[in-house]
């Protein structure tokens, strides 16, 4: 029997964590992540999960403890947002370099300042080059599903990297929608036992973990990390197929929505893809040939899949929910690189910083090529 519940994205991910039942969760609260760990902590207190929650004093400590736990042989998860990720960033790089398969729920929130608690993707972009995998959910259902897939991806012997499951703060973390949960036993069976090929901490077989690397080896270890995240694309594809058999829900590194015969396409991450889909449906009804390319995987960046999906499109508009002051915003720049040599016309727009809404009228203007480079901003010409 299908188990459909009315859940926020935060609650849905907490249910995924309850079903995964990780050994250790070191975590520090921060809006809009807090409902995830708050809900999960209640599950643990009620005996629904056997996890050791470590109430650390900061996110820097949360990720430090997570590395220690993961490399001591414990399946480890954590969660954060915005400033928490910024404080954690130093250790996120180290988690990737120590190849610690930690799963982290990220409630995307704007970085200060000005201080703000609402969604944009500046926190994700802050660590885009850290070597961690970043998957973006469009909905609470996707946040749940990707969280169930994440431990297997992180622990895959060809990968061994932290995996972030990103969901838009408030828009997903705090908004209730029907979410189909898998049976507990099915999730337990899917994730299996924690087993990694690393030399984990063991007093009977001592190792030095995270050693110093001089100029004669640092470069080789960085290349080893790059190879691991490149290999993760194949691993994600295999796991997504296995998950589809279990759940009936399919995932890929990208999702093509009504791109067949499209002359204009929008590229977007996260919950905005849902709004764009609605507008695509309306415009298709009106006879316009428009479509959406959603990226589920931001890291690794699916450049070849993007180029293939957009090969017949004349106009591409990339939506960035993060700015890169003084430069091209990150998603725009990376899609431009993926499409280098293509004949399509490419433009980009920043939107939604600090939780600013993106309305269907904005999306219509973007499809019509009539939107400014900062959409929904007061003070720009061509304001829509």
């Amino acid at each position: 029997m299908t188990d459909v519940r009315l859940l926020t994205g935060g609650e849905a991910v907490a249910h995924a964590m309850r079903q995964i039942d990780p050994d250790v969760v070191p975590v520090y609260p921060i809006t809009p992540q807090t409902p995830i760990i708050q809900t999960f902590a209640k599950f643990v207190a009620d005996g629904a999960a056997q996890t050791e929650i470590v109430n650390v004093e900061s996110e820097h400590s949360a990720m430090s403890a997570a590395i220690g736990a993961a490399l001591a042989g414990a399946r480890t998860m954590t969660a954060t947002s915005s400033q928490g990720l910024a404080l954690m960033a130093e250790i996120v790089y180290i988690a990737a370099s120590m190849r610690a398969p930690i799963v982290m729920a990220l409630g995307n929130r704007a970085l200060s300042g000005p201080i703000n608690i609402h969604c944009d993707h500046s926190d994700s972009m802050l660590i885009r080059d850290s070597g961690v995998i970043q998957l973006f959910a469009e909905s609470a259902q996707e946040a749940y599903d990707l969280t169930v897939i994440a431990p297997r991806l992180a622990e895959h012997p060809d990968v061994l990297l932290p995996v972030l499951v990103c969901q838009d703060g408030f828009t997903i973390t705090h908004s209730a929608e029907p979410v189909t949960l898998l049976p507990d036993a099915a999730v337990r069976h899917f994730v299996g036992d924690y087993s990694i090929p690393n030399d984990v901490l063991d007093v009977a077989r001592p190792t030095t973990q995270g050693p110093f690397a001089m100029p004669d080896y640092y470069y080789e270890f960085r290349r080893q990390q790059a190879a691991a995240i490149e290999a993760s694309a194949t691993a994600f594809g295999e796991l997504a197929s296995e998950f589809a058999q279990l759940s009936g829900r399919s995932y890929g590194e990208i999702e093509e929505y009504r791109l067949e015969g499209a002359s204009t396409a929008i590229v977007a991450l996260g919950s905005t893809a849902g709004t764009v889909k609605d507008v695509v449906d309306e415009l298709r009804e009106e006879g316009e040939s428009v479509g959406l390319l959603k990226l589920t995987s931001f890291r690794p960046f699916p450049a070849a899949a993007i180029a293939a999906a957009l090969s017949g499109v004349d106009f591409v508009v990339v939506l960035d929910r993060a700015d890169s002051p003084g430069a091209t915003p990150p998603l725009h720049a990376e899609v431009a690189a993926a499409l280098y040599g293509s004949s399509c016309e490419l433009s980009g727009a920043v939107y939604g910083l600090g939780g600013r809404d993106l309305h269907p009228t904005h999306i219509r203007a973007l499809f019509a090529g009539a939107a400014p480079s900062y959409v929904g901003l007061r003070g720009d010409p061509c304001r829509v």
Partner: protein, 92 residues
């Protein structure tokens, strides 16, 4: 010097097992003074062994026998923690 390995042949994350570790003699860093023990005074509490930041304290089973100066930096922590004054720092 051992031949440098290509990235494909390095252990994951560079974790080092004892049998794979190079063992360079680091006692050459020592500056000026070395520890000396008056063994009849030693009560074999092994505080020096616990506190030594390297592996300069030599045991025979569980009995302190002296120093391996190839790994002693001359930091004098052993002399500082010795509760019976059995270890003194002496000029090289």
């Amino acid at each position: 010097m051992a031949e440098l390995r290509d990235w494909q042949y390095l252990p994951v994350a560079g974790a080092v097992r004892p049998e794979d570790a190079a063992r360079p003699l680091t006692g050459g860093w020592r500056t000026g003074e070395r520890p000396a023990v008056d063994l009849p005074k030693c009560v074999n509490c092994l505080l020096c062994w616990f506190y030594c930041p390297d592996s300069a304290i030599v045991l025979d089973g569980e009995t302190f026998t002296g120093f391996d100066l190839d790994y002693c930096k001359g930091c004098a922590i052993c002399a500082e923690v010795c509760p019976v004054g059995a270890i003194a720092m002496v000029p090289e």
